[in-house]
Symmetry: C2
Subunit: 434 residues, 2 copies
């Protein structure tokens, strides 16, 4: 059998007991005949504690040194995990990102993987050892300094190693059973999605679902590496994230004997996001280049905007409004940058609203199905939810609504597309760390 | 001016406040015109906490993984120290042992440095940065795995880097003012020794003085690298450890204007050690090879014995007694190994005594002075101290006494050789960590 890459997050290795539990799972995989490569995050709150220490000695720690500091966290968890596996009678060897050949650019704190040269890992596998690799970290190709990959970094490490090692699968372990049709804290009838395409998962991740990080899915898509998101607390199948033309096969695998394969749902899931704010630039002269000037100012301030809507200008005034959403954390920076532009652009005023939420329906099936938008909006209307902004992609429809309407909108969409299950599963829809 | 290497132990970087204090000292050295390389240990109790974690997941952690785990400690302290220095407006770059070019053999937990290739450190110094290096760690030449140097490892790292970089001096910072003529907790009139030869310092270290580790002094001696042991809490001169023919010069430096140089004392200091036990093999047949068989059994059990004494055999019985001292921690192992030998050697019985202590007087001056032994033993007799065993080197005389007599023996020797000072300094004679 081939290579299996498994990634365990900080909550899976939070203490000695958790580490020993994870070790048993890893050894079981090895005993089933696989070569096993494990990517591990820092224990529980280690990273936050190290950041607190950094802030105690310096208000603005240099990125190089912050990366040196934070990478100590994985070093601790991976060594302990290797010891726990050793104690179960299997040899395990831990490797730092640098030792594992995770080569990055030199952008400290948000480095990108540019190459993976896993020679030492292959040697260890050949010699029969289980390989443990520190997630979230690499080494700069140019400076040879230690780097970190930023949020979602451990997931990305796992996928990158899986691709470089030509693994059969990259298993991402979490504390829930997989990716759900909606957040079960909002919609108790939400059900696990057996399989999703990379594209759908990207849309889910980009629109608020907190299971997988965007860059990890993007990396998997580029390398066609199947991801299996599953719980570290059970042996159940989770959610397979695979190429679009493979989704049906994974759904087939789950159909019980005698059943015909399930037909792929038109809508795979409902995502929501409460982390954004909305800014409206009111009374913008409807001239060529005004919108560009506004977007340039935001770009220069390093702000990623998400949805953007421009009204048709009122003929009488030749003034228009431009609204966009952005991360709430960037709200103050954006307002300052825009205020500086007031005289140049000549708009009337700025409105800031952080009482908004975004609800998205995602599904590859909507490509071939007319009427999806109508069904979605009718369901929202019936639930008394007012739509503020709309944005669409080929496989997604997103609306901005009042934050207080998010829960109702999620439930209405979930019901309208028949995503509910009758078995209510007791899960917590938690976020992943790094 | 040239390169200064400074080593700070765990108590000097125990928390954010201590780290900021040390950072100021380092920056002051840099501003005085030196290139500065700092070697740092893990913060306070970090190493012990990591060992506790290891023991929670595995009763016998593999050496490779234990080294991977423990080296996280220095990674944390060195990154924080670099940040604190950066916050004072000086650039500092931290380097792991591996990055610093500390090449070792592959004996995990007690690796020996076999080469130092500090190219990256030299580049950083050339670019004007302060260099921070993780103590206690290196990388194996053969396996490329991370290694640790064992006890005293950070001191050894500092001396090795100082030698490789051709530094002017290796400063070892501690919480006392230097090396003292005796432990001030026992002898309040003990005074700081301004300068000592490598050989005297080796004898002090080997015989219970806890300031510098044997291997670090040995490394300095081989490379003729001056060590300056001094307090991180004051600017005062500490103890210079230098080549024997340089000692007088460092003593000269301290003589106040107009004074003639102090004459080097015959005895430099009194060391004591309470960590040993004594085993006596009673009634050994006085035949060729019996002592060898006993020592071979201990060697095979990896036990380092210290003093060894064999009585002249009683003519009537042709039986002799062999006594030796060894670390108390090895007592049980040694007794077991010897018991297995009973029938083969045919001795009568084993006596184990852990109520012993060793008191040594050390001084290069004793080479040329007859009567030192007599003065020492007369002083012990006058203090009512009974001598159990005696061992000597060219510059040291050691005796084993009852543990309850150690303090009296130290004070008696200190007084007999005129080592007392009239200023009682308030110091704590603490041990160094790693």
């Amino acid at each position: 059998m081939g290579i299996v890459v498994q990634k365990y997050g900080g909550s899976s290795v939070a203490d000695a007991t958790s580490i020993k539990r994870v070790a048993q799972r890893i050894v079981a995989t090895k005993k089933a005949g696989h070569d096993v490569v494990v990517v591990v995050s820092a224990m529980g709150d280690t990273t936050d504690e190290l950041i607190d220490l950094a802030n105690e000695v310096s208000p603005l720690p240099p990125g190089r040194e912050l990366d040196m500091l934070l990478t100590a966290g994985e070093r601790i968890s991976m060594a302990l995990l290797a010891m726990a596996i050793g104690n179960l009678g299997q040899e395990a060897r831990s490797f730092t990102g640098s030792q594992a050949g995770v080569i990055t650019d030199d952008a400290h704190g948000r480095a990108k993987i540019i190459d993976v040269t896993p020679g030492r890992l292959q040697d260890a596998l050949t010699e029969g050892a289980i390989v443990i690799v520190a997630g979230f970290q690499g080494v700069s190709q140019t400076t040879k300094d230690i780097t970190t990959l930023g949020r979602g970094g451990s997931d990305t490490t796992a996928v990158a190693l899986a691709a470089a090692l030509k693994a059969d699968v990259c298993e991402i372990y979490t504390d829930v059973d997989g990716i759900f049709t909606a957040d079960p804290r909002i919609e108790p009838r939400a059900s696990r999605i057996p399989a999703l395409s990379y594209e759908e998962t990207l849309e889910m991740a980009a629109n608020g679902a907190k299971i997988l990080h965007l860059r990890c899915v993007e990396y998997a898509r580029r390398n066609d590496m199947p991801i299996h998101v599953r719980s570290s607390f059970s042996e159940k199948q989770g959610t397979w994230v695979v190429a679009a033309d493979q989704v049906a096969r994974y759904l087939d695998n789950e159909s019980t004997e005698g059943d015909t394969a399930m037909e792929q749902a038109i809508i795979s899931g409902v995502a929501h996001d409460r982390s954004e704010a909305k800014i409206t630039v009111v009374g913008v002269p409807d001239r060529v280049g005004e919108a560009a000037a506004i977007l340039r100012a935001l770009g220069d301030a390093q702000i990623n905007i998400d949805m953007i809507v421009q009204n048709v200008s009122a003929a009488a005034t030749a003034l228009t409004d431009i609204s966009f959403t952005l991360p709430r954390a960037d709200g103050q920076t954006a307002m300052t940058a825009l205020a500086r532009l007031k005289d140049q652009v000549g708009f009337e005023r700025l409105q800031y609203d952080d009482g908004v939420g975004k609800v998205s329906i995602i599904g590859a099936g909507m490509r071939s199905q007319p009427g999806i938008t109508a069904t979605f909006f009718e369901a929202l209307a019936a639930a008394g939810v007012n739509i503020q902004m709309i944005s669409t992609s080929e496989i997604r429809i997103s609306v901005t609504v009042a934050e207080s309407h998010v829960d109702a909108a999620v439930r209405a969409a979930h019901e309208a597309f028949g995503l509910g299950t009758d078995e209510v599963e007791a899960v917590v829809y938690g976020g992943t760390g790094r």
